[in-house]
């Protein structure tokens, strides 16, 4: 994988390289260079299989990480391309022209993370969340617990005690001056 990275750096400006396993590495790439790099990897380097495309929300850094995982079956290699994009008004170039299946991934990312992929087919169609009006739910600042508390009713009859607090109350709680 290091060899591949060395070859690629001669043609592309690449970011951090992380070797995760002998057959899996991650490379950070600038958003503007991704499409050309993917095309090169697909057509010249044998990474013909798009394994997945997903996002990671680094809320505290104000960034989304898009991970394009591609596979070279002949060489048994997986390569993850990490693209960091701004979280506000997140938008990224579509790759549905490289892999038809990418349109589905991009549709899901639009729905779940609110990332725009201009030109991607049926991008704005509801995918999983038909009729969803709240914030994109896979963003880190969407609180599932709070949502479920606000949306669903707790079944009555549930209560619990903290062992330490219960023991304090039973055994030695401050009873004031006695």
């Amino acid at each position: 994988m290091q060899q591949l990275y060395d070859t690629l750096t001669q043609r592309f400006s690449l970011g951090e390289f992380t070797r995760q396993r002998a057959d899996l590495a991650f490379i950070t790439v600038e958003a503007v260079r991704l499409h050309a790099l993917l095309r090169h990897l697909r057509d010249q380097e044998g990474f013909t299989h798009l394994v997945l495309l997903t996002a990671v929300d680094w809320l505290e850094d104000g960034q989304f990480q898009l991970t394009y995982l591609i596979n070279n079956r002949a060489k048994c290699q997986d390569l993850g391309l990490r693209v960091m994009i701004a979280r506000d008004n997140a938008s990224m170039e579509s790759i549905h022209d490289l892999w038809a299946a990418a349109a589905t991934y991009q549709r899901e990312l639009r729905e779940m993370f609110g990332i725009d992929f201009p030109g991607s087919p049926r991008l704005m169609d509801d995918f999983i969340l038909e009729g969803w009006n709240a914030a994109p739910p896979y963003r880190r600042d969407f609180d599932t617990l709070e949502y479920s508390r606000a949306t669903y009713r707790e079944r009555p009859g549930r209560e619990t005690r903290d062992p330490a607090a219960h023991m304090k109350q039973q055994l030695y709680g401050d009873k004031g001056d006695v």
Binding site: E159, T160, R161, D162, P163, A164, H166, M167, K168, D177
Partner: protein, 600 residues
Amino acid sequence: MSISDVLSPFTAWKNLFRDPVTIKDPLNERPGAARYRGFHKNDMDKCIGCGTCETICQNGAIDMLPVEGIPAVQGDSGLRPRIDYGRCCWCALCVDVCMTGSLTMSNEYKWVESDPDLFRFTPGVDKKYWDNAELGYQRHDEKHLMPVAREEMPELHPEARLDSFVEIVQGYNIEQAKLEADRCVSCGLCIATCPAHMAIPDYIKAVRDGDYERGVQLLYETNPFSQVCGRVCTHCCEDSCAARHEGDPIAIRWLKRHIIDQVPQEKVIELIGKPAAPTGKKVAIIGAGPAGLTAAFDLARLGHAVTVYEAQAAGGGMTRYGIPEYRLPYNALDRDIAVITAMGVEIKYNQRVGTDITMQQLEADYDAVVLAIGLHQGRSTRIPGSDHPQVRKAVDLLRQITAGETIDVPKSMVVIGGGNVAMDIARSMARLQLQHYGEIRVTLTALEDKAHFLADPVEIKESLEEQINILDSRGPQACVIDDNGKLLGLKTWKVLSIFDAERRFAPKYDPADEQIHEGEMIVEAIGQMADVSLLGDALTEKLEWNRGRIQIDPNGRTSENWLWSAGDCVKGPDVINAVADGHRVATSIHRALTPQEATA
């Protein structure tokens, strides 16, 4: 496609003559497999209500609730898990994680009710027909979801430690402490057992997080003697630790020491922050031991002016003059005391109340007085010959060693007693013998048999490592003195029983089994009492007493409303109890000194 493709499907007709493969009566003929994860069982005798099952349940299916007839006691919260089967996913992580092995699963899966609320019940309390099922999910023999063995504490080997008073326990390094802290399940059962109710799970979490400054703040919330308690606390908390049931209890004491060891003293003072604004009230405290200084610390932080009167040349009381340096180095104690004096507490050393200043004077000069004089007078066996000058009290000898006084070290000696003080003096003298004569000849005789020794097991183990000759079930009968008045040794009889039928102290001996233990010196280490002579006759007369101890109310106040008493002298010997007592009287005094409208 061929003709056979048309005919071949007709072979299905052969099934016309087969018996059905379905189970005719599945409710009765189909028990769950031996490992089946079915309805829960809980062994009420083993469950300690630690709530770890609730913590790990990712469905939120478990509630911890009190159960009639199961009170909260030390080491058992009295709560029991109630399971909501509307949420349970039968993953059995609660069984895997259970700290006692009480929670298990039967292989029973058939249960029909029309009321859905019945599927929320407390296994073991609400009786079910599968409570005695033998089969069901078994956790693998090894407990996998957390380490069960304690991180080993680095200690000096006997050869390396025996010729000096260097501290034996080396303390955890950061990596070891993290591993040990990792084992804690944060159930908090220990908090109730700790007399000072320290925030144990929280400060252990601080160790896990490497946040020692937070750790120090947590320690000082409940205990200004973390150096001391981190080393010599009786750590009864560890007896309540949930981890002890299927492994070693968490080394709570050592982790406390680890926290305080990581933060420099100046930083500690900075972290605690400045005391409150002065209130103008004055409090005198007699005795600079853990009880007195804890009260002093609390009162000073609340803004009261505190003066401590200490008869000895240094503070710490019994922790300095009773506990040998190899267990508690003086500089560790000094650090604790320095933080307390940094809060504005004034300690007057070498000031013996009763001699240098009277109680009447203190009563007149201060708004409140605390008597925290500890137990510094050794008890005597009163056996024949015990008035010989070479028959000594352990507390006196230990005090002399700490004070650096020259001691006429005997070549051989006998210690009477089987408690920690006996071990302390035996091991201290053994060190001195080795320094003076190159060999150790210390015999220790105890009334109790080995199984009922009063000393900590670790003390006994280390004493044996240090070549102390420990003899159990020996009752002292006389100090053997020759015609020239020279002490030769101790005569003992075999102990048959110590207590009578009413559990009163009434030892019975077998005179036929008599031994003489050689010793140029005999040390009595059978208990201590308070020296209350400082009170003076008038005050002694006025105060109410209870079996030789000053009578106090639950807040530590005596029958005289200006006088409180705390620590060993009223509660018996124990550092952490003394600290707790110090807090108690400080709270009571603060209430008494603060105008009512302010507290209302």
